[in-house]
């Protein structure tokens, strides 16, 4: 018997209309865990380097995490991977809620989708019964609306639905896949739409078995209790009404304008009242004692949920207030668009209008006020009408299509992907490396374990490290103790810190843990319930595999390196690894490039950011090295030189 995983994938070919339950290789989890790890392996094995993201040969993979469905709490992030038309690289997306665990209870570790349906369809999975069904009656329906309609149609309120809205149907690059009030962004909704797949509805009534039941349950309960009573995990922003951090420090508009003294008491009181006047409740995800999502229902509008910075992006891009975000978020959720990149795309268009690169003729009938303009452009984008058709291709592509100097307004992307609107003064070396080399595209998916800022006094630092259980290695305590000024830290420490930050995300995204109880959250307070020192035990108890810290770390390195190889094979090189030029006001090109070289060497990559044969072989990825040599990306090793 397989433990924790089901040992089966669901292979769906939408062109042929076939669905097949296929057993997976038993030793795969040992090397690639599950989730993003084993998905990267599939993308490497099955999607040839030159495949256009819009080709039927592109795969869209929904993965459960290796530990989904076990009693371990807050293990519910479903992982979606494909190739993105925006970056032409691997798309990596996550969503919370209930979908992944349900899929596992239905008996599958993954859904692997290839091909394209002739017209809109949905996939209905009820344990062994899998059907591709007509979805033309759902055309144009909102994403959560679709979930509701399918539950009624299937006469089962317990099905879990992931669906695209109009944006996905129209292949908008910023399209998301929505599930209840959770959302998968960063370039996956567009491919689901391209495959003409409106939704997936899953119901599972099978058991997930675990290897060492009593011990795992005891561990799970210990962690559950720690979480419930701890302020060190979950999203504190769900209840912290003081949001001066984002409003005073992040940039407004098209990631341009900082408003340092914006926040004040009167505003906070007003917004707090608005929130509680319209909030139904806070909800959580499967088997998690936290409740990070605020569920809002404005009069006349659709009910929606938000987390974290998600409530600020629209009104900050529009120079408006929270009531505007509350008004547009529900609409955007039903259309299914990413609330991080979409507001930037709209603000970018309005900047072009102001600069005269676009003119009034491009915006026929557009209202004069910011509120009206945002709604107008949102409609144009999700329908791909007029200028919206160009904007729907994201800032970077739209800038090139518009031309005429528009390229200069594409100032906040890396690898063609919209970055968080952060504009700061002095270069922060760790952040430079994370933004430059990250392949999860958003800094929130890379940062997270080592604190963002040093503590002012030695006593505070000492106290912090004394309680710091999460460190994978004692050296991080030393780094922290000796760290006094943000940008003043050794290159060696910087490389280690970035590596650790990355490691936790790659591990979470392969096991299914939520970043708010692990990879993203340690940077704020250090007290996360899951970390390098207890995750190996959790894996061992759940799966029966032998697992310890060094082995898990090596798994991280293997998965990380494989993802790099997947992207390198599609053309990713050193020249692409540049944070937005204005991310910091004060830059030092020479130092940055030296640091980048050091980091590549630290990772075992060559000076162009390509993993070397030696690195690949050490990680059991010789097959990758062979392929990279065959295609001329790596220089073939000279006999006897290794």
């Amino acid at each position: 018997m397989r433990y924790a995983e089901t040992g089966f994938n669901l292979e769906v070919d939408l062109t042929r209309g076939s669905c097949e339950r296929v057993a997976t290789q038993p030793d795969l989890a040992e090397h690639y865990l599950g989730g993003q790890g084993s998905a990267a392996k599939l993308l490497w094995d099955r999607v040839p380097a030159g495949t256009d993201p819009f080709s039927p040969d592109n795969l869209l993979i929904f993965s459960t995490g290796l530990l989904h469905g076990t009693p371990l709490p807050a293990c519910n992030r479903t992982v979606v991977n494909t190739f993105s038309p925006q970056t032409n690289l691997m798309s990596h997306s996550l969503f919370g809620g209930f979908f992944g665990p349900e899929l596992k209870y239905a008996g599958y570790d993954k859904i692997i989708i290839r091909g394209k349906a002739p017209d809109l369809v949905y996939l209905y999975i009820n344990n062994d019964k899998v059907e591709i069904r007509d979805a033309t009656h759902l055309r144009g329906k909102g994403s959560t609306e679709t979930g509701d309609l399918l539950k009624t149609e299937l006469k089962d309120q317990r099905v879990q639905v992931a669906a695209i809205g109009l944006a996905g149907e129209n292949r908008v690059f910023m399209a998301t896949i929505e599930h209840n009030h959770a959302s998968a962004s960063r370039g996956v909704g567009v491919i689901m739409g391209d495959k003409r797949l409106k939704a997936i509805a899953v119901r599972g009534t099978r058991a997930v078995n675990v290897a060492r039941p009593a011990e795992l349950f005891e561990m799970s309960q210990r962690i559950h209790q720690k979480m419930a009573g701890s302020s060190g995990c979950g999203d504190w922003m769900a209840v912290d009404e003081d949001d001066s951090f984002h409003h005073n420090h992040f940039a407004w508009g098209n990631a341009r304008t900082r408003r340092p003294g914006y926040w004040n008491k009167e505003l906070q009181d007003r917004w707090t009242k608005l929130k509680y006047d319209n909030m139904d409740r806070q909800t959580g995800c499967y088997n998690c004692p936290k409740k990070c999502r605020n569920v809002i229902k404005m009069p006349g509008g659709p009910r929606f949920g938000y987390k974290c910075f998600g409530k600020d992006t629209y009104h900050m891009a529009a120079f408006l207030e929270l009531d505007f975000s509350y008004e547009i978020l529900g609409v955007a959720q039903e259309y299914g668009v990413d609330s991080y990149s979409t507001p930037q795309v709209i603000a970018f268009a309005l900047e072009l209008l102001e600069a005269g690169i676009l003119t009034d003729k491009d915006f026929p009938g557009m209202p004069a006020d910011a509120r009206g303009r945002f709604f107008y452009l949102l409609e144009k984008i999700v329908r791909r009408e007029g200028i919206g058709d160009i904007l729907a291709d994201s800032v970077s592509h739209a800038a090139r299509r518009i031309g005429n100097g528009a390229e200069a307004f594409d100032h906040n992307t890396t690898k063609k992907f919209e970055q968080l609107p952060i504009k700061l003064g002095k270069l922060n070396p760790a952040y430079f490396l994370m933004i430059a080399t990250g392949e999860k595209m958003s800094i929130t998916q890379i940062e997270g374990s080592f604190p963002q800022d040093p503590l002012p006094t030695e006593e505070q630092r000492q106290e912090f490290v004394n309680k710091w259980e999460a460190v994978p290695n004692e050296k991080f305590k030393q780094y922290f103790l000796n760290w006094k000024k943000r940008s003043d830290i050794s290159d060696e420490a910087t490389c280690d810190i970035v590596d650790w930050n990355e490691a936790m995300h790659y591990i979470d995204d392969s096991l299914g843990f939520c970043g708010f109880v692990s990879s993203f959250r340690g940077q704020f307070g250090g007290d996360v319930p899951y970390h390098m020192n207890n995750i190996p035990e959790a894996i061992a108890l759940a799966t029966g595999m032998e697992m310890d810290k060094p082995k898990l770390w090596k798994n991280f390195q293997r998965i990380r390196t494989l993802v790099r190889a997947v992207n390198v094979r599609r053309g990713l090189r050193r020249k692409d690894e540049r944070p937005p030029e204005d991310h910091w006001a004060v830059r030092d090109e020479k130092y940055e490039q030296e640091l980048l070289s050091k980091y590549y060497a630290f990772k075992g990559w060559n000076s162009d950011g390509i993993p070397t044969r030696q690195t690949l072989e050490e990680l059991g990825l010789a097959y990758v090295a062979d392929d990279l040599e065959k295609s001329g990306i790596l220089e073939p090793a000279v006999e006897g030189s290794r």
Partner: protein, 183 residues
């Protein structure tokens, strides 16, 4: 004659639907505890608690598995409470032929909450244990109950004798046990 007074234990789980976050940790824990061997498998479909949730209508109702009923009901009443609408099914504890809820998916036998029967007894039921939000609260109290009088006991005695004569002792005891469990 004075009725004799003694006490019995009443166990209750108090449900506050407003506090429920919809996390379904309760389902997870219930199914784990009732798996064999204990905690060896997780399957919320086998839980004896079901969280009825609907994100669109903001409906989150934990329901405990009650008695099995052979026929489904045709009533589909809708309740509005505090501006939120709930279908009658949202609160119904029965396992019934209309839905596959509270039916063991492998054996197709009805499931029923046993308040986590266990020797030694649990401190509190598992679903309550994992409900971090206090949507489920366990209460155990001793209530005084009146013992029937000697005359009443005599009546019961002769009634039972008659029944046993007619149906046999085993059938009567089995039925009594079942009634006891259902109560």
């Amino acid at each position: 004659m004075n009725p004799e007074m003694n006490t019995k234990t009443v166990q209750e789980i108090l449900v506050d639907v407003d506090k429920c976050t919809g996390c379904r940790a309760c389902e997870m824990a219930c199914s784990a505890f009732h798996s064999n061997p204990k905690f060896s498998s997780i399957n919320p479909a086998k839980a004896r608690i079901r969280v009825v949730s609907n994100e669109l209508t903001d409906e989150y109702v934990p329901v405990f598995a009650g008695n099995h009923t052979k026929s489904g009901c045709d009533g589909r009443h809708v309740y509005t409470i505090d501006g939120r609408t709930y279908s009658e099914c949202s609160f119904c504890r029965a396992s019934c032929p209309t839905r596959d809820y509270f039916i063991e998916p492998d054996s197709h036998l009805p499931l029923k909450c046993d308040m986590c029967e266990s020797t030694p007894p649990l401190k509190q039921p598992w679903c309550v244990e994992v409900c971090g939000e206090g949507a489920l609260v366990y209460s155990k109290r001793e209530v005084k109950r009146e013992e029937p009088s000697a005359a009443a006991l005599g009546q019961i005695e002769s009634g039972l004798q008659a029944l046993m004569k007619q149906h046999g002792m085993e059938a009567v005891i089995a039925r009594l046990k079942q009634i006891g469990r259902e109560k």
